[in-house]
Amino acid sequence: MKDFVKKVIIFFLPLLILLIIGIIYLPQNNNDYLIKKHYLDEHSNDIETLILGSSHTYYDINPEFLSSKSFNAAYVSQTIDIDAAILFKYTHNWKHLKTIIIPIDYFTLFEQLGTSMESWRLKKYANYWGIEQKAMQSGCWHQIDVMFDIYKDRFRQIITKQCDSVTCSSLGWGNIYKAAYKTDLVKDGKIAAERHLLSDSTCFSNNCKLLNEIINFAKANNSRILFLTTPAYKTYTSLLNSVQLNKTISTIKTIVASEDNCIYINYLTDRDFLETDFHDSDHLNEIGAKKFSNKIDAVLTKPDLKPIFLNYK
């Protein structure tokens, strides 16, 4: 028995030492979640334009080109439930918030992070943002789980020899999609269109409810909401399911029609965006992002916001 205990201790000791050393001495890993969270912790009082949403707004809108003090809190696979959680996390801080930008893309209303293939990201929001979803456990054990997960992230960075895993600018814009590295737009369009074809009706009704909560919050805060559908290349848009797309567009139009603090602009097939503006079929590169951000800025700086429906068939 003693021999067994001794062997088990000897076996686990290096792992335990490695874990402790890792937790104490490994530098705090820097990542997009932390950057965004720290920024909002410090500057949410001053922000005038807040950009929420998925990778579409994360890569497509660069706050540097917006006249107002803006921050891009969007992120890859971020869904409306997470957008709402981020917004409500700083409920009492949005003293200067004038505009909230929320993308309503082809898949937006039919997806929530917890039910998507990217559900593993829920833990990241819990770890780094402190956003807990209902499905997650709580209490001290959860804190230990969180600690392990953070350590796991650091461990992965060591393995992949990454100093950090930052893909965004200091204002939260995803700055890794360079014009020099373009993907095959035809191939990517097909895959992305299929990946974004969703049919979760529960998510749809929950997301509509969340949109209403966000609208009510914005009203109470004297803010307006700019809903927009981001531009995409024809290899993607031509393959979209018309039922899902029409349902998305008609739903947001109906919501916007009854609210005086909201507008909706559809840039999906905006012909101003050329092949050279796209990194892949549904994300802009830095050139396209500049063009799109300028367009958004022109909208935001107009005294009266009017809905625009561009080239949408």
Binding site: W120, K123, F148, E194, S199, D200, Q244
Partner: protein, 481 residues
């Protein structure tokens, strides 16, 4: 308290230390500790159901004693049927009442031509975790006592540990009194080789669950959740992902359970024996959820007549046993169809008397199988994948939609869901399983001839893999049964 949680690791460590260092002077104290820790473990799910567990234990313990003391066969029969009906009654109320009520009401409404459609009477009950497993423990004990296979246990503590032993309490393996009770009755001495083997089995179970099952679950959940908008090839990816998910999940759970029991000096029965290497469906069912298959064989199939009698008798027995097995899994038509489908798969081998073929492991003593063996294995695997579609689907409509979506032109298109790293992990996993297929579990004797450093490095690699590739934690699938 999930087996793959830190809570369980701490719970196991404390129980292990108390068991071998504090309670080791007396068997009753050791069993008392096991019982208390088992009830604590169960109460972590829902403390209210501990009372149901205690009631079920008391019922079977006392009815078995009453049967033993009965002078007449009539009285013996009375106590036997009392126990059976209360056990099945509890299972029926908690697990099947709403399903039966819905079916019955639909039938009545159809008879009335829906002129005055009535809603079904539904109970708002939470299904007690593991109820099917511990009820079957109790049933096997009562049946064995009734049939004089064993003498009733006189010590309540021993019997309560037999029912509630925490490694097998919530998802099996379904133990038999003839196998487990004698181990609980006798003094247990610590055996280092068995305990080390147990730790290895726990490690392998964690790898199966956290790396294979949880990662596959993400794909399967997505595909089954959005089936009607994905291509046929993606349906196939989803179905295969679920096939590996359920194996990694359930056999991983079982490995952790058996490994944990070994740490306490108790050997549980084997529940899996590399089922995806089977060459026929009959062989698959000798290797998948063995404790349930043998339970049904001993307590239902053989009493029904087994493979004796006319061909129609044999066919009806097979269909009954698979339908009941499907229904045991859950109150849903999907499980019944899954059971029926497996019955249809297995019937040709019963009719042509080839079901006892392939009793040994595939390519025994060889590195690679023959072409015929490989072909049979792939065919069996394909049939299994197809059957799992029913098991995974929420209802029959969803299952048939999934199948329709699977068998279309886009089946041969390139899937948009193609998780390369997961595919590599599954290939590595199956290779390890293949090379360890002649043992109790894949890594039982892996590295036995290697230098200690190499062996430990292998275990460290598994731990690192769990740490690095663990998917989003999912509840064990079989907990719902």
């Amino acid at each position: 308290m999930l087996f793959n949680s830190l809570q369980f690791a701490v719970f196991l460590l404390i129980t292990f230390i108390l068991y071998w260092f504090v309670a080791n002077r007396s068997l009753n104290v050791q069993n008392g500790l096991l019982l208390l820790s088992s009830y604590f473990f169960y109460s972590c799910w829902d403390w209210r159901f501990v009372f149901l567990l205690i009631f079920s234990t008391l019922l079977d313990f006392f009815t078995a004693l009453k049967m033993d003391k009965s002078d007449s066969s009539k009285s013996r029969k009375f106590w036997f049927w009392l126990s059976i009906s209360i056990n099945l009654g509890l299972l029926g109320v908690f697990k099947y009442f709403n399903f039966i009520s819905t079916v019955f009401t639909s039938f009545l409404n159809a008879q009335n031509n829906y002129s005055e459609a009535h809603p079904p009477l539904l109970l708002q009950l939470i299904l007690p975790i593991g109820i099917s497993f511990y009820t079957f423990h109790g049933l096997s004990y009562v049946i064995d006592v009734y049939q004089n296979r064993i003498k009733p246990e006189k010590n309540f503590l021993n019997y309560a540990v037999f029912v509630a032993f925490f490694p097998l309490l919530v998802a099996g393996p379904i133990e038999r009194a003839t196998h487990l009770l004698p181990q609980i009755q006798r003094n247990r001495t610590f055996n280092q080789a068995i305990a080390t083997n147990g730790l290895k089995q726990i490690l392998w179970g964690l790898f199966k669950k956290m790396v294979i099952a949880d990662n596959c679950a993400e794909i399967a959940n997505y595909v089954f959740g959005n089936a009607n908008s994905l291509s046929g090839s993606n349906h196939l990816v989803g179905a295969i992902a679920f096939t590996f998910q359920i194996y990694g999940d359930f056999s991983g759970y079982t490995d952790i359970a058996i490994g944990t029991a070994k740490l306490f000096g108790i050997e549980l029965i084997r529940n899996f024996s590399f089922p995806y290497f089977s060459r026929s469906i009959s062989e698959f069912w000798r290797r998948w959820h063995i404790s349930l298959s043998t339970w049904f064989k001993d307590y239902l199939y053989i009493p029904l007549g087994g493979s004796k009698g006319t061909i129609w008798k044999k066919i009806s027995n097979i269909i009954i046993i698979f339908l009941v097995s499907g229904f045991w899994h859950g109150a849903n038509w999907t499980f019944i169809v899954w059971g029926l489908l497996n019955a249809i798969y297995i019937l040709p081998s019963i009719i042509f008397k080839s079901n006892r073929r392939y009793l040994d492991i595939i390519a025994n003593g060889k590195i690679i199988p023959t072409f015929k063996e490989f072909y049979s294995m792939i065919l069996t695997f394909g049939l299994t994948v197809f059957a799992w579609i029913f098991f995974r689907s929420d209802n029959l409509t969803a299952a048939f939609c999934f199948i329709r979506g699977l068998f279309c032109n886009s089946l041969f298109s390139r899937p948009s869901i193609f998780p390369r790293s997961l595919i590599l992990l599954i290939i590595t996993f199956m290779l390890i399983e293949w090379f360890g297929r002649e043992k109790e579990f894949a890594i039982a004797e892996m590295g036995g001839n290697w230098p200690k450093v190499a062996r430990w490095l292998f275990y460290y690699s598994l731990i690192a893999a769990i740490f690095y590739w663990a998917g989003t934690p999912q509840l064990f699938i079989y907990f719902q049964f």
